[in-house]
């Protein structure tokens, strides 16, 4: 449905999107995950015809966005990062305008009615957009993207700035849309793509780092289990007990203290759920476990583990042509060094961990 081939976008000398290729099948919900400034919005803006690419091709349902922009745009509904609302129109006027703007031929009243029903904005239809809350504005923005029933819907950070309840509602809404439409959404929140998407494309510094089914990414993430455990008891003994516990790869004391309880960072081995074991072991010693918090991975960790995984599978970047590699190295020396140092650190930590285990054995 959507095909992006070797897309490059330069702003002057800086490179926002660097040779991205991926495809989205019909009916898929694809999440575009990456930190701020990774090139998510740029890619989406190119895909919707708002920006032109420096080189490369983007096509929607076989229509090239540069060759036939009008036909391609007719197939897309787009919600930019900041919903494009006219604050002095009422919701109804605004949707009417969207209907006319897109040259929609569906029955106007029934179509707009149905959209209002889907995104639940019926009760604010006669209100002026300026007076709406952030959540409602976001919905009106989504409604605008749905006008004309486009085959592809693109959402740029649809849940930014919403409260948790609204976030869940919007996510459910997007999930529902995925039944009839091909959806791309961008976010920098891992949980969001996990909750909504079939497939995750991770992008960092203008390059695609991973393009995987959600389950695979989730597995990678699940592999790395880290906890903050708050345990009341003598610090040294607790620590050595933790380290001795089979299944725990790593443990350390954090500089947090509440009464006689300390907080420990505990990391389990791959694929092991240590929580129950941990509880009973501590109970044996009569050290109450007063808090156990699972730590979400941050994006940096995910990149490292995802890239680690894919390297294990494919062998170290054998698929990348030598020339291209050199070009990238020349251009992004400092970035690459940073990436390498992160890699090294992760490797070193693993090595240390296994060393420690050996010692203990």
């Amino acid at each position: 449905m959507i095909k992006i081939e070797h897309l490059v976008k330069n702003y002057g000398t800086s490179c926002a999107v660097d040779d991205i290729s991926f495809a989205v099948e019909k009916g898929e919900i694809v999440g575009f995950l990456g930190p701020n400034g990774a090139g998510k919005s740029t890619t989406m803006n190119i895909l919707t015809g708002y920006l032109s690419s420096t080189s490369g091709k983007a096509s929607i349902d076989g229509v090239d966005i540069l060759a036939d922009p009008l036909a391609a745009k007719r197939k897309i509904g787009y919600l930019p990062e900041q919903p494009p609302l006219y604050p002095d129109m009422t919701v109804e006027e605004y949707l009417d305008f969207a209907y006319e703007l897109k040259g929609c031929t569906l029955d106007r009243r029934a179509h707009l009615e149905q959209i209002a029903e889907t995104v639940k904005i019926k009760d604010v239809r006669h209100k002026v957009i300026r007076t709406l809350s952030k959540g409602y504005r976001q919905r009106v923005g989504i409604a605008q993207a749905l006008v004309g029933n486009p085959a592809v819907i693109i959402f740029d950070e649809p849940t930014v700035g919403l409260d948790p309840k609204q976030i869940i509602e919007i996510r459910n809404l997007i999930r529902g849309l995925g039944k009839d439409h091909t959806v791309i959404l961008s976010t920098h929140i891992l949980q969001e793509v996990q909750a909504v998407c079939d497939r995750i494309v991770i992008i960092n510094k203008g390059k695609i780092v991973a393009n995987e089914k959600t389950e695979n990414i989730s597995n990678v993430v699940m592999d790395n289990r880290r906890f903050h455990a708050k345990i009341a008891g003598p610090q040294k003994e607790v620590l050595s007990t933790l380290r001795a516990l089979p299944g725990i790869a790593y443990a350390e004391v954090l500089a947090e203290r509440e009464g006689d309880a300390y907080t420990y960072l505990v990391e389990s081995e791959l694929g092991v759920d240590i929580r129950k074991k941990l509880f009973f072991r501590l109970a044996e010693h009569n050290w109450p476990l007063i808090g156990l918090e699972s730590l979400g991975m941050n994006l940096e960790d995910i990149f490292i583990s995802v890239v680690d995984k894919s390297e294990e599978r494919k062998g170290a970047r054998a698929h990348q042509p030598e020339r291209q590699k050199r070009r990238q190295r020349d251009r992004s020396r400092p970035e690459q060094e940073l990436g390498e140092s992160l890699f090294e650190e992760a490797r070193r930590r693993r090595a240390e961990e296994s060393l420690e285990e050996n010692e203990e054995e």
């Binding site: 803006n45 009008l70 745009k73 787009y78 930019p80 494009p84 006219y86 006027e93 703007l101």
Partner: protein
């Protein structure tokens, strides 16, 4: 294009801006008409039309300042630019909306001439003489109105281009005032004289170039009731060039 046109028309009237524009325009033109004709005791309308041009320096920016600057600021232009309409359609929709409001104002201001005709008819009843024409010359008035419309169309295109280049309504307005003032005042240079009564710009060539470029010099023929096709073409091309440049600005921005 029609969707954008309708949206712009609507936004002129759900905002105060449309009313402000029409209000200022009508009040100013009525006062001006009153002073230049009735109070001055003349039926000659040419000074009314030439002074209206100076009102345009302030009035046109009111019409054009928000056309694109506001859309950029509110990020709503993303909706227009990702919709299945051409850039030309979008620009023309906005241009014609501003033009419609402008023409509406000009046509409404034609009511200002009614008192002249009324006064003239009263005056004619008092005299038995029919050899000399008493009252305003309709041909001159029609010519003047057409000239105002043409000049306005060109200046709106200029203001629109400025609005497309800026992100702030206020700066769009200020720059537009500057540009239009420069265009209107250009041929004043030709009228400047030194103490001996000689033109300050001594070179005839320079004076004729200024005369050719100035938007004002082509205006005067109409005021004498001469229907100048060359001038119509001149103003039409001027409008076309600035509309075209606005489209190019947006084309360029996509590639930026």
């Amino acid at each position: 294009m029609l969707a954008v046109y309708r949206k712009e028309m609507r936004s002129y009237f759900i905002n105060p801006i449309g009313y402000i524009y029409l209000g200022i325009f009508l009040v100013f033109s009525a006062l001006l008409c009153c002073y230049t004709t009735i109070i001055s005791g003349t039926y000659n309308t040419s000074s009314y039309f030439s002074m209206m041009i100076f009102a345009f320096i302030i009035l046109i920016p009111i019409l054009t300042m928000r056309l694109f600057a506001e859309e950029r600021k509110m990020r709503t232009e993303q909706m227009l630019l990702t919709a299945p309409i051409s850039l030309t359609g979008m620009v023309l929709g906005k241009y014609f909306a501003a033009l419609t409001l402008f023409l509406g104002g000009v046509l409404l201001s034609c009511l200002n001439f009614l008192p002249l005709y009324v006064i003239a008819s009263v005056e004619r009843q008092g005299t038995s003489e029919t050899l000399t024409h008493v009252g305003p010359v309709t041909g001159e008035i029609v010519g003047g109105v057409i000239a105002l419309c043409l000049l306005g169309a060109a200046l709106i295109a200029v203001g629109m281009l400025v609005s497309a280049l800026t992100e702030n309504q206020l700066s769009a307005a200020v720059v537009t005032i500057g540009v239009i003032a420069a265009m209107v005042l250009l041929n004043m240079l030709n009228l400047l004289t030194d103490s001996d009564g000689q033109p300050l710009i001594s070179s005839f060539a320079v004076r004729s170039v200024i005369d050719w470029v100035s938007v004002l010099s082509r205006f005067s023929a109409f005021l004498n009731g001469v229907f100048d096709y060359a001038a119509i073409l001149y103003y039409a091309s001027l409008s076309f060039i600035f509309v075209f440049l606005t489209v190019r600005v947006y084309e360029k921005r996509r590639w930026g």
